[in-house]
Symmetry: C2
Subunit: 306 residues, 2 copies
């Protein structure tokens, strides 16, 4: 079984992770977190979201975070944007790239962004057109690609079709997303197979959640299907298995432990990511769920002289 020699990790912790945290994290803590993640070797970091502060209060300081981070050469600092207003604010903050988010389930689309799928694609076409004018690359998420909390099963044909439409409206890459962490590895192969009938493999990424502990095995199925870009969140930030409604982001540490073991290059240093997670763990005020991070914490505890 041939696996890719190199994988690109999209670090989404500062945005997808923190936006699900109840405790308001200070701008200074966010900036230190992003800088630490860049130090760890990440080449692309989703820093924040230019969305309504009424909608996501945690992301209200997006511009302040972008103004304060240390831009390292070779690192792309990105932001989520829901519409043209968000894109313009993001551009004013000199983002390197923006991300848009459509859904593969009609009910989820209406509940999450208050638009039908078709309406959202029109919105995003306008965003992509303007982004092209501004020379800002656009990445897309396709939520609920493996299942919807309201509709249940989502047909692979619909995922494949919407992936193609997002590329068509102007995204350079689509992160096929398991929003509720329900995918199994057989399904990952099926969805990637279906999507690659219309879109080249190198335009696809996987954004997996670990709600049911399947994120890593789904990464492995993705690797076997040839996928080379995976989203992850430092510490598993944004998910906590001990909290009801936990979203359970795939932890960057868990992903790196496996990829390092498999000899797959990422350019990201596991020990440095653990350091970044330790700092943000104190800011969010609860233990982070990454198993590798917790195993490292347990080891420190055991080896401490006290």
């Amino acid at each position: 079984m041939r696996l890719p020699a190199r994988v690109r990790i999209v670090e989404a912790g500062p945005r997808d992770g923190l936006q699900n945290e109840a405790a308001q994290v200070s701008t200074a803590d966010k900036v230190a977190f992003v800088d630490a993640l860049a130090d760890a070797g990440h080449s692309i970091i989703e820093v924040s979201a230019f969305v309504s502060p009424r909608w996501v209060p945690q992301m209200a300081d997006a511009a302040a975070v972008f103004a304060a981070i240390t831009r390292r050469p070779g690192v792309r600092y990105t932001a989520l944007v829901p519409n043209l207003t968000g894109l313009r604010r993001a551009h004013e903050s000199n983002v390197d790239e923006v991300a848009i988010f459509a859904a593969a389930s009609e009910t989820f689309s209406r509940r999450n962004i208050n638009q039908s799928i078709a309406e959202s694609l029109e919105t995003y076409r306008a965003v992509c057109d303007e982004a092209r004018r501004l020379a800002v690359p656009v990445r897309a998420y396709l939520s609920t690609s493996f299942g919807c909390p309201f509709e249940g099963t989502v047909p692979v044909e619909r995922v494949a079709e919407l992936t193609a439409r997002l590329i068509d409206v102007g995204a350079y890459e689509v992160a096929i997303s398991d929003t509720i962490g329900i995918a199994h590895p057989g399904q990952v192969g099926d969805v990637i197979d279906a999507a690659t009938r219309t879109v080249p493999l190198d335009r696809l990424a996987l954004h997996l959640h670990d709600t049911r502990g399947t994120a890593l095995v789904n990464v492995y199925a993705g690797l076997q299907a040839g996928v080379t870009t995976f989203d992850a969140s430092a510490g598993g930030l944004g998910g906590c298995p001990y909290a009801p409604g936990a979203t359970g982001n795939l932890a960057t540490e868990d992903l790196l432990f496996m990829l390092d073991g498999l000899g797959i290059e990422t350019g990201v240093r596991l020990d440095r990511v653990i350091e970044a997670s330790r700092r943000i763990e104190q800011a969010v005020g609860h233990l982070l769920p990454s198993r590798v991070f917790r195993a490292a914490a347990a080891k420190r505890h055991t080896e401490s002289p006290s």
Copy 2:
């Protein structure tokens, strides 16, 4: 990629799970747990260990547990035994099978059972000879097959050789065990490849720990290598990611969720295992780490009218 149509799960929660729990669990709670696991459809359950109560106080009531469980037809109730004394006590309790435990690392063997590997194989040869006389089948664990906390890397050749020796002394099956949860999926394929050079595939099982979140992906690599027997522990009992030194057993629920998704038959009902785990969770006094179990608990919480 062809996967097996059917998998056999060895439920080790009552022994490998509970033996790592700090709180003493009552005999009645253990009996109810074993009975609930049999109700869930398990065909083989490791009930307890006939070891010194000074060594493992949690297992001191092994005979009382065996005396009180309801034996269901078709279910094998097994026990861990370290030596001939343990075997005889187990036989008096009418166990259907016993399990012995060797290690692939010399240092771990000395620290865990106070014998060299060679000495332990002599002990186990005597156990297997006597077990054959008593018509009691013997299963073997081979600990630290993917890495040792003291020695680090363990050569695959040594794992293969010791697997063959355990079959040779009389075990019908060897559970190749990732005691510290350090394996990655590439290593699983390598170890199974090496072991099957000397032992038929159907004599091998995988006993995986989830300390670093890799248990499920390692199961998947095992399935792809043709392995059809996997150990698991209800609720992930015996491991807690929030406790230092957590051992992190693969949770039966997480395993079942993936196998059910892949359409692989097990005969075990996920909802019933979750019920069994809910009861034992109260007895051990802390939240169980299984992600699927926690996701189910979060769903109940969200949907509750309160």
